[in-house]
Assembly symmetry: C2
Homo-oligomer: 817 residues x 2
């Protein structure tokens, strides 16, 4: 079942009912001010940090779901309704929610009164703009009341939801004309306030929730709306809110447009007040002056649209598959940008209370946005590297505001260092900017301990090379990519963190997955050494890599697939010998991507790699994607940790963990299996699951972290949409491994691996400032193999397009065969 | 305006409308299992620890207020209603909520169907019992549906409200017959589950919130109730709930009684499962078997009533003032017991997420409950002392579960050590049990560092004696009793804790309040030394105390009142010289209670103490009580800290902080001002404010921490009811200082200080196992002064009643004059 449709021309997903199976959301904001907005206008806003500077209050896990947002009540006679349906839930005569790139539009109507609500955050201001246009489609004059409503958060969202003995006494506001200022704690140490205004005279206002909503009423039935007027309340403590009341008359066919602005304003410390106790409103005045007219708003909206058009022009395809086109050209890249902006902080599953940027998360996200915003990717890499420990290991997360590492989830996740190589190598391939390797970066943010980025990569590699267990495989530490495989934890107490309990490291537990990473990213590191003409280091690295490859084939192979790990007793994990958890997805994908076991066999039998992927298909595949391992753990295994804490089929315990599905897809392309690679790609790709939205439940335009596996009673149900490394990896998979447009250190390489029934496709790729128009001809209907390449009419040998910075455009014709 | 009335015979407060100005709550539970319950059946339950073992989910600061509770939906035709009005809010034909001692009863009716809901936690079981009796008062048969509803919390309430990316995948339940088992995380490290059952066959059930309520419905309109049947849902992740559906028919005049039990059950680790994946239900079976019949329930209810009757028999009075009688005999002592059980953890203002027991809080609470439960008070003292540092200073809080000190709010609150003397001295006066002083107690919970309790008291005294500032007054450290007077903090950053920022101690900032405490509790310590015949130590202590008294009179006196402190620059705080905050309440109360400046002057002019109290009356008094200081701080003072962070009139910034009002009342009795003492007592006493409930808003049967001061726009509005040291201090004030029934180390002393218009009163006091019947005759209409004392017919000299452990009863007649 569908609950909307893709509008590819406008780059929008159009939701046609407010009652989606879960709230379907969008993100507004590109720089510092962000909002979450659902298809019923729910959500909240924050400035830079979702925990520390939250402007509006949201109620997670509420009943009803998705409560608090930017709400507009229209009261015509006894009928009260909202353009977004919530919170009153009056059945609407028409309803539409269009989620676009950085904006959302609601169009709905009741009794021939039409409301169009456009919500967006402008590129250059710290505010959310709501342009509300009301049109009378009847033959008679309409007279009605409009009430706006937002509820302020007292800035620190964690404190706001727990410290009531203080917070019920601190709330303060000011009101001037049509503008409401939220200034809680401004009297003391805050130099910032929030402002909520409308470009129209008001008939009344409220700033106390009790006055507007009523103590025992709900936002579904505010007492002020019921009465038809606000009471001019000034909040003193309790819950400051903002509501404007505007009485409106519309002649037949007439429209009125109102601009509501929710903004964040700062003052210098010595200019906080214009008079004792009165806040300096200058920054708010300046902000609001820029959005006083519909024309100003539409100009800012156009600027936002241009921003996104420019961004997404870096990679566009045309294939015969419209679902593929819309995912690659619009939604997958859009989601990558959202992961750049949000990391894992604020979604409808991430409450915005954790403040960390993951070391590993951020390095991987980078794979998905480096081509969109290479300059910001550069800074991100340097920020991450600056938190690395001198021995090459890493904090597992760092604070985005201070850019310092923190121990909230500890350290000793032994895959972390290698992801720094992965991210940096991707940046180098995209930009060719080797100067980044010379940038000085601190260790552990210690200004006295600094080395060029290249030295950080070296220590990343060496950390893994020097931390091996009894089988010669890398020690897993607290965990590798699978945070829930905790082999040194042994937790018996409820509530203990699986990620910080037990020793940072153990002398025994090893990870085959990290071994695969070591081979893959070790080779990428060797390529960098090669480019820097560090031939000795390159050779030494490749020797280490080759040895590890051998170790994996020896100690890491279970007979039909790669082992997952050895536990703290040196027992295999992910082996036929196990009762549960016999085969895991991660090492199959990573080892084959690394090229381990891919050598053609002499007798024509399947290669080791092919056998591993066949085992994946036979044992882990489902209609909704590949599950993480099988059989699911039915009891708690103290020696394995959190993975066995989930009910079978959910999350890491045999759920479809979407992040690692593209690894299998990529691995299949390594073996030239284009059809299978694309089949795997499609299984978790949201656009292909749109018809099953009643099962998947999450947004059909973005990936989710997890779908319930076949062991779960809700097989196919998605969770944790939006903020997941899945976005970056699926984009890497489709754009580079399948469609085969591959940045390399030397330039763009074209090497598709596609379903044989495809006839071809085109791609426009802006790469190092050059716009490539690439045509792929698969009249031969092969899965892979390049027969010829022509660049601007000239044939070239091989698949690498010689880079010419002097060109503005470059036409590439590739024939497969 | 009143919203109910006191029923003194039944020891109940009867609320007659569900729409009280704020939710008015009660506490159920006496040992380990506790519930909060509001007058609309809202609230939640927990076992031992409101953060770590919360059974049901509550939504703090919700809109509408007070959402989630134990809800029962009665659906008769199209009419759906709840016995507690919430959450459906259908207007009821009749409604009554009776909050009693450890139980609450709702009686309400709709269309002549009557519902009586009794809720209590039995003395000896870990469960809340809901006995629901439905009666048909019409002449026709009634047929209707009943739905129960609770929402489970996933145990750790902090994690439950933030970690959705995990928690939406962990929920698990089992259902057997009419019993629903909530077993989230039981599969892994938890050995406990919750059970919710009814003693009646069910027509259906739901355990998924989405199935019962509906994603976009609210508890005000569950979709299952609307349809008239449950769907038999089994929760897999998301939000596990429990709902029973029972279809009922009642003939005219007939009743049916149903017993619902919400329980907490544990299993030994090796007996968790009865079959793979199936929880061992034996402890639940045993629990439920004890509450299968109404008779069993009523027997447990009677046991609970007896428990409270016994407790409260320790101190009962009869005066001409019924409001005084009900506060002293019932509600004030009841609130003291609630502070014993809850500390500051779980109220409608304390979210239950902080886990600490305050060192100072617990010592002071003890003053209010030591006469009720001396054995448990003894253990509490030893627990607290065991967290003390070897130098006599203290953690500011400790964990109730582990009984270890923690640094969540730091240490260095320099009043803390002296409160240990205060609490222990109170225990000794009540019990005469000097053996407690010989109990070995650790320092900082270090088994290798142990000393008898007496040594802890010694170090408490010495810590203060050896930490003095330039004026010879005690250093204030992070703060003294007023946590918000932070003289060494100097915080400029929003969100920094005023309690943990800056140094633990400063070399300069001093507290006159601690000086007062040092004199008062130093003397009490000297009395203990005296009783132990430590004459030298006694003399040394008294010498130190005398010196401090002199220092206060010298450096701590501002001319018309006692100074509050010297700040970190040695500037006075609470002085005529200040622009704001010229006079504070705390030192006036504490210094006079300590006897400082009480000497009669030779010229008959008012004593120093009297001048201080007159200044309080002139400058700080309001109709709702005495404000904390004046003038209120209108701007932030970085050198004073949090006190200046509150808007004027709220909390410590010139709010009526109820806790310190009884100090003034006590101080007035020290000067013999019985009328004024009682006048001050009455101002904050809830029973006397019942008629102003629309202004005070909080429960008229319990004290609140704070009422808005005269500088606030909401003067008289109460906040933070229930969990406040106010309860202990007001009870100490009325029972000992005003009514004058004073435990001493030697026995009971009778020394009233009362309004002169009183003719007398009687008191029954159980003290060290002897029941005293005390009659006070004030035919002379004096404020204080004992003319004669007769004990069992024999006149005695002085006011001390010689203690005779051989007596069971003792009749005391006191004539004032």
């Amino acid at each position: 079942m569908k609950f909307g449709y893709f509008d590819d021309v406008n780059k929008e997903y159009v939701i046609t009912t407010p009652k989606t199976p879960l709230p379907w959301i969008n993100y507004l904001g590109t720089q510092d001010f962000f909002s979450l907005i659902s298809n019923t206008a729910g959500g909240y806003s924050f400035y830079k940090d979702a925990k520390l500077l939250r402007l509006t209050r949201y109620r997670y896990n509420n009943s009803p779901m998705d409560q608090n947002g930017r709400y507009y009540y229209i009261k015509e006679g006894d009928t009260v309704w909202n353009p977004g349906w919530q919170p009153v839930q009056t059945p609407l005569d028409s309803y539409q929610c269009r989620h676009g790139l950085g904006y959302t539009v609601f169009e709905s109507s009741k009794n021939s009164l039409n409301a169009k609500l456009l919500a967006f955050v402008p590129v250059h201001d710290n505010c959310e703009i709501n342009l509300l246009t009301l049109t009378n489609y009847t033959d008679a004059e309409k007279e009605f009341d409009l009430f706006s409503y937002i509820e302020f958060c007292l800035w620190n969202a964690a404190d706001d939801s727990s410290n009531f003995q203080r917070n019920f006494s601190t709330g303060e506001v000011e009101v001037a004309g049509s503008t409401i200022y939220h200034k809680t704690e401004y009297r003391e140490r805050r130099n910032h306030y929030a402002v909520y205004s409308v470009n129209h005279p008001v008939n009344g206002f409220d700033t106390s929730r009790d006055a507007f909503i009523g103590l025992y009423n709900s936002p579904a039935d505010p007492q002020a709306v019921r009465k038809g007027f606000c009471s001019g309340s000034i909040a003193h403590g309790w819950a400051p809110v903002a509501s404007h009341h505007i009485h409106l008359k519309l002649r037949p066919g007439d429209s009125v447009s109102l601009v509501f602005v929710l903004g964040y304003c700062e003052n210098p410390k010595d200019k906080k007040f214009s008079a004792p106790g009165v806040i300096n409103k200058e920054p708010a005045d300046r902000l609001l002056a820029r959005y006083q007219t519909t024309e100003q708003v539409m100009a800012a909206f156009q600027e936002l649209k241009d921003y996104w058009t420019t961004l997404l022009s870096a990679y566009t395809i045309q294939t015969e598959d419209v679902r593929l086109n819309r995912m690659v050209n619009i939604w997958n890249q859009y989601q990558c940008m959202v992961t750049f902006n949000m990391s894992r902080s604020a979604s409808y599953y991430e409450s915005g209370l954790g403040r960390g940027m993951g070391f590993r998360d951020s390095c991987q996200d980078l794979l998905g946005f480096v081509h969109l915003i290479p300059e910001r990717a550069r800074q991100r890499i340097l920020d991450i590297a600056a938190t690395q420990f001198p021995d090459g290991s890493a904090y597992h997360q760092y604070q985005p505001l201070t850019k310092r590492g923190n121990m909230d989830v500890g350290s000793g996740f032994n895959d972390d260092p290698l992801w720094l190589i992965a991210g940096t190598a991707a940046y180098l391939r995209e930009t060719g900017d080797f100067s980044i390797l010379e940038e000085p970066c601190t260790f552990d943010n210690d200004a006295d301990s600094t080395a060029p980025l290249m030295e950080h990569l070296r220590r990343s590699f060496q950390y893994t090379a020097t931390h091996k267990g009894p089988h010669g495989l890398p020690l897993i530490g607290r965990a590798d990519w699978n945070d829930c495989l905790n082999l040194n934890c042994f937790s018996e107490e409820p509530g203990e963190s699986f990620q910080t309990t037990g020793p940072n490291d153990g002398p025994v537990a090893e990870s085959v997955f990290i071994a695969g990473m070591f081979v893959k990213y070790g080779r990428e590191y060797a390529e960098i050494c090669d480019a820097l003409r560090l031939d000795d280091e390159r050779d030494a690295v490749l020797k280490e890599v080759a040895a590890m490859e051998e170790t994996v084939m020896d100690a890491g192979w279970d007979g039909d697939w790669f082992l997952r790990a050895y536990d703290a007793m040196s027992n295999p994990v992910g082996s036929k010998l196990c009762e549960e958890g016999q085969i895991f997805i991660e090492p199959q994908g990573m080892c084959v991507m690394a090229g381990i076991g891919t050598d053609i066999t002499e007798d024509g039998s399947p290669s080791t790699a092919a056998r591993a992927l066949r085992s994946v298909e036979e044992r882990l595949d489902t209609r909704y994607g590949i599950i993480l391992q099988t059989p699911a753990y039915t009891t708690y295994h103290v020696e394995l940790g959190e993975i066995s804490s989930y009910p079978p089929g959910y999350k890491e315990n045999a759920g479809i963990f979407c992040h690692n599905n593209p690894w299998i897809s990529c691995a299949e392309t390594v073996l030239g299996h284009g059809s299978r690679a694309f089949e795997v790609f499609k299984k978790t790709c949201p656009a292909y699951l749109e018809d099953q939205s009643e099962i998947r439940r999450t947004e059909p335009y973005v990936y989710c972290q997890m779908m319930a596996g076949r062991d779960a009673p809700t097989h196919g149900e998605g969770k944790n949409s939006w903020l997941t490394g899945t976005a970056a990896w699926t984009f890497t998979c489709i754009s580079q491994y399948i469609l085969g447009i591959q940045p390399t250190l030397q330039g763009l390489r074209i090497n598709p691996c596609i379903p044989s029934d495809w006839s071809g496709y085109t791609c426009r790729r802006i790469y190092r400032g050059v716009s490539y128009d690439i045509t792929i001809d698969n009249s031969a209907h092969v899965e892979s193999g390049v027969a010829s390449v022509t660049v601007d009419g000239q044939p070239v040998t091989g698949t690498l397009i010689p880079f010419d910075a002097g060109k503005k455009t470059c036409k590439v014709e590739v024939v497969l065969g």
